[in-house]
Symmetry: C2
Subunit: 293 residues, 2 copies
Amino acid sequence: LADDLTAEIGLHLIGTGAGTPLNMTVGGRKTAMSCQHRFLEGYTSLLGDGGESLLEKLVGSFEILRRPAIEMPELLLQLAQKSSVALLVIGDPMQATTHVDLLLRCKDAGINTSVHHAVSAIDLVCAGIGLQSYRFGRQVTLTFPHGRHLPTSPLEMLAENLFLGLHTLVLLDLDPTGMGIEHPRPMSPREAVEVLREMDRKLRDEPPPHLDSGSEDYNERMKVRISAIAALQNVGIDDLHGVLCSNLGSTNSSICSGRLSELASEDNNGIHSLVVTGNLSEIERDALERLRP
Amino acid sequence: LADDLTAEIGLHLIGTGAGTPLNMTVGGRKTAMSCQHRFLEGYTSLLGDGGESLLEKLVGSFEILRRPAIEMPELLLQLAQKSSVALLVIGDPMQATTHVDLLLRCKDAGINTSVHHAVSAIDLVCAGIGLQSYRFGRQVTLTFPHGRHLPTSPLEMLAENLFLGLHTLVLLDLDPTGMGIEHPRPMSPREAVEVLREMDRKLRDEPPPHLDSGSEDYNERMKVRISAIAALQNVGIDDLHGVLCSNLGSTNSSICSGRLSELASEDNNGIHSLVVTGNLSEIERDALERLRP
């Protein structure tokens, strides 16, 4: 039963899966069980109902680390020089640059590493609503506005995906401070739509990029962006079609679809992600209407 | 230990994970174990070294079904009306339209269903080479040419991704007949690059799409495509930069990067996927050079 799997000395990045720890892999679980030290990155509240105790039953006890301990990982690396260390990450461990950086630091220090994927929010979203993963463009993340700083790039990428007929997975921030040290507070659908509206206002106020400077490639590229934004603004944020996925993978999951202005008034608690749909194929439209968790 | 998980009467789609059955989830495994009937879709040779016997150890014995039995699933549905049925799918079960269609048929017939994701080839590729999933555009699949029929859409999508600076995951076909009935024969890197070259030749020979008919949106859209293809043809297929990922997740995995003309001469056996890289961020470049399995 693959019981011969014993974790080597080093650092093992192990995804717990999104929604429930039952979404971790068999291999990840066995590795975590056999490590001498176990840490969970971040926030147990994001493990879903009863997730913390289920995770402990699956892999054994663990200590919780906040983001600073991951970004300044001297202690973690010191430990991994001499013993087997499991770093449990909620969702999939390779979705964040921090973890790639951690692997590179291990490489520099001659520390052995392994990575154990798990089912991510993206996998759950595609399945939950029956959209095909190859019909998604690049994903975007909406962060809480910090003071007057609001980058508009997420809306620009969303516009480009729509322009190409593709769906966009919009992940919502969990960390109002941007520091990874407070208790997480997931962004609500209302806040998410408001952030998109604010980006839209900002883009309307800004002068369009100059096309006379820059290389020919850059200019071509900017023309696409300008056309894509114009097409989106022609529809308007409120009238975009979206699917709101809430608490996927856990027992209180729900899915609503409609115009973004309608989804903004959905007031269910929990962790949300949003899909802005591009052109729907017939089977996608069918699945979206009829396959609900 | 979540041992209370018993599969309900109905059809359970369970991913085995790509590369090794250790990439299936804890929840998927428990569901499969507790089902009264177990079937594996397709090809045990794709489970990796010793994968078939490992899968049997993990979930119990199973019967193998070929594609026709999935696409004309009357017997499967009949069984799932009265008993708990696990359909094990290599990789992730929701990557194929066939399985969405199967879920819709169950819905029509009032049959209970559940879906258990697993780690897919896409997850393994992103991790294996340290590229960030949000920097990928839409993925494409290269199929074996059937007679004179060769759709050029995969190369057009690849061109658009590159034009937007995005990476492209290129999945290679396993089924020379296109019928899902023969023993699978994965496409080799040489064949894949040859298929891309052939699409390139075909695009050069074809007249460009007319821009005077169609809506304004359509014309804008076609202009992007024409610019993207011109930019790619300016570089040429042979000089695109790619990363060849072979047998990821199994013990004989390997990764090579270089120009496509170089990768075409890689002669390692097994199952390949190719990433054509867009603009690389600093950490991606670093990871690509230094993080190798």
